[in-house]
């Protein structure tokens, strides 16, 4: 589904990704871990299409399409969605408006008409209940005045409504209390199926207890230096990153 090959990325003349390879197949959950500043958010942002990153080498293919040739919104409509580490506030734009505009954009790209209001209403009601979000959040401006945890739940609400093929979730667990973690994890797990894939960026095993990954990768200094199964995360939790580094240098 997603194939990242030899990806080199520079931000403001600083080399961040240095030949990164990653393949994700439909049905899989991948977790990327690694020290602060390693380039995890950069990787997901480049895949999602954020401005300001220069790809100096390498390719990204999503279902065989050249992602780097696609506009940001085309990537999203094709089913590539990024849940942000720091979701921003958008004053004056109602949550419900964003959801409807986004969903209709996706439907239009598939050649479908706008979603009928009652159907949309039902969908939004259902999904916000799943995320334990009061309906009043729908009427508020996107993320404005939301707590850290509410912002994260709102990101997942968008995912539940837009049903991406590949959901990339950047530190979706940060700032969540224990109950919210469960709600978010349940939301993410509900997206899992044989046709979809999930890419999690996280620092903590805790999240991976709830969303059990098929593959765990360690990203250090712009490269994936080690990959393994779910047990690798446990080992990292116990031993930190130094041993991985030593092993990779050796």
């Amino acid at each position: 589904m997603l194939e990242v090959k030899d990806l080199h990325v520079t931000v403001e003349d600083k080399v961040i990704l240095k030949g990164l390879n990653l393949t994700i197949n439909a049905g899989e959950v991948h977790a990327i871990m690694g020290p602060n500043g390693a380039g995890k958010s950069t990787l997901s942002a480049v895949i999602a299409g954020k401005d300001g990153y220069e790809v100096t080498q390498g390719t990204i293919l999503f279902e065989g399409q050249d992602v780097l040739e696609m506009e940001i919104e085309e990537r999203a409509r094709a089913g590539l969605l990024l849940g942000f580490q720091y979701p921003i506030e958008i004053p004056g734009v109602k949550n419900i408006y964003l959801l409807k505009a986004a969903l209709n954009a996706q439907r239009a790209a598939r050649g479908e008409g706008e979603i009928p209001a009652p159907e949309f209403m039902k969908l939004v009601r259902e999904k916000s209940t799943d995320m334990k979000m009061d309906p009043s959040f729908l009427q508020r401006a996107v993320n404005e005045g939301f707590s850290g945890g509410e912002k994260k739940r709102n990101e997942i609400l968008q995912m539940l409504i837009l049903q991406p093929k590949l959901a990339m979730l950047d530190e979706i667990d940060s700032g969540l209390d224990i109950d919210a973690m469960k709600v978010v994890a349940d939301g993410v797990n509900s997206l899992r199926n044989a046709d979809r894939a999930i890419l999690l960026v996280t620092h903590y095993q805790r999240l991976l207890n709830h969303i059990v990954p098929d593959h765990v990768h360690v990203l250090v200094d712009g490269r994936i230096v080690k990959s393994g199964g779910k047990d690798l995360a446990l080992e990292l939790e116990e031993r930190g990153y130094d041993w991985v580094l030593e092993e990779s240098v050796a």
Binding site: I90, G92, L98, L162
Partner: protein, 445 residues
């Protein structure tokens, strides 16, 4: 021949037959206009607005009020209202709909009021907008022979909006018009008044309008000015408001059209407890120039004013906002708030903004501020990252910017037109009716 002389020469083309006191008033206006001449940028009030395009123009007076009926249906607001239509300054009985006025409401074209020697024409007209206010009010006084006289008896709550539509045609020879609008609201009368400027897209005329609004004690007037004239039209307007005790005046000044537009809005809060709300929005593009000068005079204690003007400027357009709040000595317990925020959609657009408070009393609550900025690119990205295309993302954020003002607009037909113009492409009102319903239904569930 000087420019003022050239303009005044057109007076000879007017039909005569004014009552003597009207003729005298015209002469006073003409004399004052000739003495003042057109303003130049050396005048503090006209520092950022160059009126040479008007002064150097050659404008005749229209001789008929014909208007294509299919076009008319496109231009007019689709709204159930009492309607008075002027075409290039001349009254069109055919396009107007003034039947079935409820008792206590009178709406008349100025020409008829003059002929009938109507008491309003002799009494109130010109009381607020004398010939000294500006050269343009003087010029208007010299020429004004058409317009609308609206009078509401005490306690009259008008069931439908009163809609004055001023259309501008694409004439071979550009024309000028000097409409005069007078609104007199008796005690506790309530009405919504719409001044709508529109017309053919190639029109290049000069409209010089003066509006006077008198609110007796407890009267409530919602006043909409919707400027949608052609991007080649020239427009100068002044609106003068006198507010009695406990009266409320809500102004909605929505400017979308015109090549050169100058609007002065002046309110005198003369009675205790009077309140004025100024909601303004201007959206300019191409090489449009829009200048809003507003003034609130707090002349009485316990008066309240709240002003919020938002400007959205694209291309090489220019905007001017000059807002002044004046609090008289001894006018205590005043609240006055003023804000102007501008959004520049292009590097080459420009705005000059000057909010000003002049306060001679001590027991006052006042604030004012002005900001100018661009769209938040991170927000554009955030929306695009959800599949919303870039023009739509920018439209949404632009509407969000004007939302504070648009939320105040109570007439949906106007809100929709403004939002469509500003957003360029959203088909329905931003606060989409079905979404509102959706949200309410969700709330109830």
């Amino acid at each position: 021949m000087s420019a003022p002389e050239r303009f005044l020469e057109r007076l000879t083309a007017r039909r005569g037959g004014d009552p003597s006191w009207v003729a005298a008033r015209r002469q006073a206006g003409a004399a004052r206009f000739e003495a003042m001449g057109f303003p130049t940028r050396r005048d503090e009030q006209w520092k950022y607005t160059d009126v040479r395009r008007i002064a150097e123009g050659d404008f005749a007076l229209a001789t008929d009020a014909e208007f294509d009926s299919a076009r008319f249906d496109e231009q007019r607001l689709d709204i159930d209202a009492y309607r008075l239509v002027l075409v290039d300054g001349l009254f069109s009985p055919a396009l107007s709909e003034l039947d079935g006025l409820p008792s206590g409401v009178s709406i008349e074209p100025l020409s008829q009021a003059i002929v009938a020697n109507h008491e309003a024409v002799g009494g109130s007209l010109g009381r607020l907008a004398g010939v000294d206010f500006s050269p343009f009010t003087a010029l208007n006084t010299a020429f004004a022979d058409e317009g609308a006289i609206v009078r509401l008896a005490s306690g009259t709550v008008v069931d439908k909006p009163i809609y004055v539509l001023l259309l501008s045609r694409a004439n071979g020879q550009p024309v000028m018009s000097h409409p005069r609008i007078l609104i007199e609201a008796g005690a506790r009368a309530e009405a919504t008044i719409i001044e709508h400027y529109s017309g053919e897209s190639e029109a290049a005329n000069f409209t010089n309008v003066v509006t006077e609004v008198l609110l007796d004690r407890g009267a409530i007037i919602d006043h909409y000015k919707l400027q949608e004239a052609a991007l080649t039209d020239l427009h100068v307007a002044s609106i003068h408001v006198d507010q009695g005790r406990d009266s409320r005046f809500n102004s909605y000044n929505m400017n979308l059209g015109g090549a050169l537009v100058r609007t002065d809005l002046v309110t005198d809060l003369n009675g205790e407890g009077a309140e004025a709300a100024y909601n303004g929005l201007f959206f300019v593009q191409g090489r449009q120039h829009v200048d809003n000068h507003t003034l609130v005079n707090h002349n009485a204690p316990r008066t309240f004013s709240n002003e919020n003007y938002k400007g959205v400027l694209d291309d090489r357009s220019r905007g001017v906002f000059n807002g002044k709040v004046f609090v008289k000595k001894d006018a205590q317990q005043i609240e006055a708030y003023q804000n102007n925020a501008n959004l520049l959609l292009s590097d080459r657009a420009e705005i000059d903004t000057k909010p000003e408070l002049v306060i001679y009393a001590d027991d006052v609550k006042c604030s004012h501020g002005a900001t100018t900025g661009q769209l938040d690119e991170d927000a554009v990205y955030a929306l695009r990252s959800r599949g919303i295309d870039e023009p739509m993302a920018r439209a949404l954020l632009t509407l969000a910017f004007v939302g504070e003002v648009m939320d105040k607009v109570r007439l949906n037909v106007i809100a929709e037109r403004v939002e469509r113009a500003v957003a360029g492409r959203l088909p329905e009102r931003f606060n989409l009716a079905d979404l509102v319903e959706t949200a309410e239904a969700i709330q109830e569930a």
